[in-house]
Symmetry: C2
Subunit: 251 residues, 2 copies
């Protein structure tokens, strides 16, 4: 039986990145796409709780079904598992995101939100992102690596609480580096403007400040040096090392 | 100098939980509240990128400033740090959430999204949640523990990438258990309805399936047995243990 592959993203069902990912995955298996009906960047693991969600089939042909969904990327994955997949997928791939999801961006990313949701449901899951926000970005250098990584995950599986956060630099690629999430933070995050009636409003913007620019085992280092970074990423957010420390507190 | 404490939540700036938290924190320090102008449950670490955000001062008196914000809980924290706080806060507290944020709920929670955002910005941060969705829930048993934990965090600090996810059971409390995030998943997540023109829509609902009901070191066990669970929670989502395994893959 051909592998059954669920695809989603956060840039919307018609974004070039997800169309490329769909073409690639059809080389490997039978594909179902369930993706938002428009851009949902920065949606993290947000879920829609205050109103219902809907889906709409937009294409069906041999080896491919495509659905758009009114919800967030995480909603898309939940709806796919609960209502749309014919069996448990062998693989979930999310993206290809137009823009980096390295370092702390993992916690804001809708692409990675969907990937974590797949992982949480026991499906080996990979988020793919290219460090280029351009709608017409060149994904071609990334494509063979996406196929290779997807085939490796299908072959080896992933542990229950582990998924992959895969980011690619722009242009030619030197290879793959298994990395850890770089420590750093966004600074100067707002551009202040004033509307015609004199009230202030604020656009999210900012600069990423790398707290460990010299560490060679981080995703930021890999990307800055022409490598694809692969960060094994977990849904278990426990700071295990701090449990014993905290047990000594006077509480 | 009195501690400077930033408060936010995801139930909205006027929710009973955040008003109680504000009263409690005013016993400890000077308080600034920056919270959403309405309910933002399930917003995770979502950020507003497609349109600008605004804030509005709703109260100012000795030791207290309160602002409402049009964005998500994470937006509130970012806006507070970048535009509203007079110095770096000594503590961020988020909540008190009306509803549990234990186990995998941590990844969907707006309360914990805001807490992780505080942590990411180097501020010791605690998310408080009560396992009761009722708007008029009884928070009284929880209150002394909130004061105690906040004072302990002010005294001891927290490591750079660690914050606390604190959940309380309903009713009398036996004490505090330092716990880890329980493994489990939501199942049967949608209620399907049909609208008057015959189209299906889907409400998020479901049941939490505990994968390790007998483990006594989890947050779910603590809560089921009358204890407050405190889970040290990290912004570093790397599955560190899997890095060496994956380096042996043929990639």
């Amino acid at each position: 039986m051909r592998p059954y592959i669920l695809i989603t993203n956060d840039d919307g069902v018609d974004a070039p990145g997800v169309l490329i990912l769909t073409r690639l995955m059809m080389e490997i298996g039978d594909v179902i796409v369930v993706a938002p009906d428009g851009a949902r960047s920065g949606q993290s693991n947000a879920i829609t709780v205050k109103h219902p969600v809907r889906y709409h089939k937009i294409e069906e042909r041999e080896g491919l079904k495509r659905y758009s969904c009114t919800g967030t990327p995480t909603d898309c994955v939940k709806l796919a598992f609960n209502e749309l997949t014919v069996r448990k997928p062998d693989l979930l791939v999310s993206g290809i995101n137009h823009g980096s999801n390295s370092a702390i961006n993992v916690i804001y990313s809708g692409t990675m939100g969907a990937t974590l949701e797949g992982c949480e449901n026991g499906v080996p899951s990979i988020g793919f992102s290219l460090c280029d926000h351009d709608y017409h970005a060149d994904f071609s250098f990334f494509e063979p690596f996406i196929l290779q990584l997807s085939r490796e995950v299908l072959k080896n599986g992933l542990p229950r609480n582990v998924c992959l956060n895969v980011n690619a630099p722009i242009g030619e690629i030197k290879g793959i580096r298994i990395s850890r999430q770089c420590s750093g933070q966004w600074v100067k995050e707002y551009a202040k403007r004033t509307d015609p009636v004199g009230r202030d409003y604020f656009w999210l913007t900012g600069f990423f400040e790398n707290h460990e620019p010299d560490a060679e085992d981080t995703d930021e280092w890999a990307l800055a040096n022409g490598f694809i970074s692969v960060v094994p990423t977990t849904t278990d957010m426990t700071a295990h090392g701090f449990i014993e420390v905290m047990k000594k507190w006077e509480i």
